[in-house]
């Protein structure tokens, strides 16, 4: 007995092992699970769990070795230490892949795990909830199986327990269950989870806040009704304090939650704006770096996309400078693409909005991103769309000038089109256009006769007297010199 104890303890502490050795060890551990002494059983189970969590081949070996049915049977009878160890094994096996999780479900582990959730000991509940969470994480069928076993009401009860670790795990499990489909999210909501989750936002523990915010955002993302239910739990303006938390992931999850709520309808976005959410998100973006910023950027984009009043609210809350810095500073293409998309949504509504975006000097950056061969497809497409949307409404000529020189033809026609709309009515702008060399550049553009670009060029040329158009047309100096050559002076 002493030897067995020692052996299992050694196995528990030994982590680095080759797979073949490990399979052999597993065969040795299996009979120890049925040992008389409870300590040996527990330690054997613990060792198995450690092995299975290390490597997915070992986990498969655990499944193939028919250990799971034994574990499941003994789960219901034994004491709490054994239950914790057995739940640990199930969790370790289930986390690697959907097939392994399916194997666990098939040997009937879900019912016993749900019974464990009703146990008195919080450690047992935590282990069982963790195992259920890892199983439900993979896909919606497994989640449905977990829900059908009746886990959700018990998990909601677990959330109300005083132990912080248990709350964390229960929140994370609810988040994993509700992320797959609206029906699952509705099941979680029907069990009354939202009210408890909303209360826990005020808890000072950072990891708990992460999980709670993640759970609420997974619920809110599926449909308008679910988002409205989440909002009715009065999370605003409490969620905004989470956006100022010292923990990066709490900020990220808080921004994700506001994004999932804001994206559904203009009314929800209006609610967030009225609660001051836009300012909080903007500050959050300014203080973070990297992927943590991404949900905040997308949230601004969604809010601005709904209507021009909301877009103006974003501009007024000083939203454009952080978006520009994101666009310039970040290295990842997908964050840049999100920032470009968000800027496009802000600037596309009216000339006022386009002016606000253009004044921040983003258009050359967008153009360079569109033209850069190193940027990904997604980034190029989004930059082009954003540029087009802003340019179609932009009447702020000083921002359009620098673009004339570098732009490719498909963008150039929009720029020239905007000039052709503004120049006929504004004489000061005409003067400025000539002095900054814009007229010269326009003459140098080669356009097919009859195309839209040619029409715009003609409109611009008609705004100026003939002499100046001829002066700036290419090759005029040669014509003048030829005239000098052919001139016979009158003596």
């Amino acid at each position: 007995t002493q030897r067995n104890t020692q052996f299992t303890e050694d196995v528990t502490t030994l982590k680095m092992m080759k797979t073949s050795q490990a399979v052999g060890v597993m065969a040795l551990l299996r009979p120890l699970l049925l040992d008389v002494v409870p300590t040996i059983q527990q330690t054997a189970a613990l060792a198995l769990g450690r092995l299975a969590s290390y490597n997915d081949e070992l986990a498969e070996a655990v499944v193939k070795g028919d250990i799971l049915p034994q574990l499941v049977c003994s789960l219901s009878e034994q004491n709490r230490f054994y239950k914790k160890a057995a739940a640990f094994v199930l969790r370790a096996v289930g986390k690697h892949s959907p097939q392994l999780a399916q194997a666990i479900v098939q040997c009937g582990a879900l019912e016993t795990l749900v019974i464990c959730l009703e146990d008195f000991d919080p450690g047992v509940k935590e282990a069982a909830a963790w195992a259920l969470g890892y199983i439900a994480r993979h896909n919606s069928e497994l989640s449905q199986a977990v829900v059908d076993a009746g886990a959700v009401p018990l998990l909601v009860l677990c959330i109300q327990e005083p132990e912080i670790a248990l709350k964390r795990i229960a929140a994370s499990t609810l988040s994993d269950i509700s992320k797959h489909s609206p029906e699952l999210a509705q099941t979680v909501v029907d069990a009354g989870a939202i009210a408890h989750l909303a209360q826990m936002i005020l808890n000072p523990d950072a990891k708990l806040k992460r999980q709670v915010l993640s759970a609420l955002s997974q619920i809110a993302k599926h449909s308008v009704d679910l988002a409205e239910l989440v909002v009715e739990a009065e999370i605003f303006p409490v969620v905004l304090t989470c956006l100022k938390d010292s923990d990066e992931y709490v900020k990220k999850n808080g921004a994700t939650l506001t994004r999932e709520i804001a994206k559904h309808t203009p009314e929800l976005s209006q609610l967030i704006v009225n609660a001051g959410g836009v300012a909080a998100v903007i500050d959050c973006i300014g203080s973070c770096r990297g992927t943590v910023r991404l949900p905040g950027i997308m949230m601004l984009g969604y809010v601005a996309a709904h209507s021009e009043n909301l877009s103006m609210a974003v501009i007024v809350s000083k939203g454009i400078p952080p978006l520009c810095t994101c666009l310039i500073e970040e290295n990842e293409d997908h964050i840049k693409a999100a920032a470009a998309w968000a800027l496009g949504q802000v600037g596309r509504h009216t000339p006022e909005h386009a002016r606000a975006v253009a004044v921040a000097n983003v258009l050359p950056t967008l153009l360079s991103m569109y033209m850069d061969t190193h940027s990904s497809e997604d980034l190029q497409v989004k930059a082009k769309k954003a540029l087009k949307n802003i340019l179609q409404k932009c009447t702020y000529l000083p921002a359009l000038e620098p673009l004339l020189h570098d732009a490719p033809p498909n963008i150039l026609k929009h720029i020239v089109g905007q000039f052709s709309k503004v120049l006929p009515h504004d004489s000061k702008a005409r003067r400025l256009f000539v002095t900054t060399g814009g007229l010269k550049k326009v003459q140098e553009i080669k356009a097919e006769p009859g195309s839209l670009l040619q029409e715009y060029i003609n409109t611009i040329n008609n705004c100026y007297p003939e002499e100046i158009v001829r002066y700036y047309s290419p090759g005029y100096s040669e014509i003048l010199l030829e005239r000098v050559e052919n001139y016979h002076p009158v003596l």
């Binding site: 104890t5 938390d245 500050d283 609210a313």
Partner: protein
Amino acid sequence: MLTSNVTFLFSISTIKIFTTFCIFRSVDEYRKKEYKAAVKIQSWFRGCRVRAYIRYLNNMIIIIQKWWRGYQGRRYFRKMVETAYFIMKMNFYNEMAVRIQKRWRGYYVRKYTHNYYALKKYLEAISVNNEIVRKELNEYAEMKEKEKEKKDLEKKEKEKEHQARKMHYLLSTEQIAGIYNSPFSKSADPMELLLRKSKPLSHSQQPAKNHLICELCDRSNCTRSPTFPAAQPLPPIGRQKPQGPFRDAAEVLRQRYKPLEPTLRVAASINSLEKAREEIKREEWRNRVHDNEFLPFSSYHKNEKYDPSIHRSGKYGQETYGVKHFREVQPKKWIADKDFQTVLPSIVLFERFGKTYSRTGQIV
């Protein structure tokens, strides 16, 4: 000769007959001629008379038709003029209505739909709100920072104190100055002061704290090897076995501290039956879809006969007082024929309801 005579006689007679015939014939023909002439003259004259009459009739008819057509034409013209006038008026009214609607729609849109000033105020309110939110969040962040700092500071203090308590033996005495109390420095080191203040640690407290912490942690993350829990409490060490026919101490302790195993009857609470019943009722209530009992069919009670109240049934059936009229009317006592006059005049605006345009439009 005779024959010639006969024939001559014959011829004379025939000539005589013939001449008379001729004479009669010429007379007849003359008569016929005259007759025909007379007829011709008369027919011509009759024709003239008839023609004159017809001409007269024609002229009369022309006059009548002339007047009738004139009348029809004037009527038609009048209608045309009226329609033209009406169309002109309606165009004018439409013009004016367009002007009014133009002004009204402009006003309405500018005031309610795209109210520039409201939008401006809203955006200003948002910026103000944002400022407030930002300030509050900054204060919150600062508060959290301060709390964290305070916690860190307190932790450090506690650690220092713990260290001081552990190293109490380093306190300086009269004879030997401790390491924190250099004779060359003017005043004692702060560590020295701490040492002076602190009470030395007692050894027995430490293991119990660790044991408690071990119990609550997650066994799967535990890196210490698990201890072997004892199956039964051990008897106290060092006690001499009491002299006499006493039972084994361990046995006695086991019996004394045997946990209570109540029977089912005792373990069940006194109102468990009621509770179970309540439970069932609640379950039923929860599973029931609809709380109201089924109502009886609507026409189930319709074969009731209606009994009128005593007050309303008169001698020969129902009285109409209270149903058809409410006040007694005794026309013989009336002074005047007219009804009461209303004190307040009727509202002029409401009288114009449905009559905002003049009645000119109803001609067409």
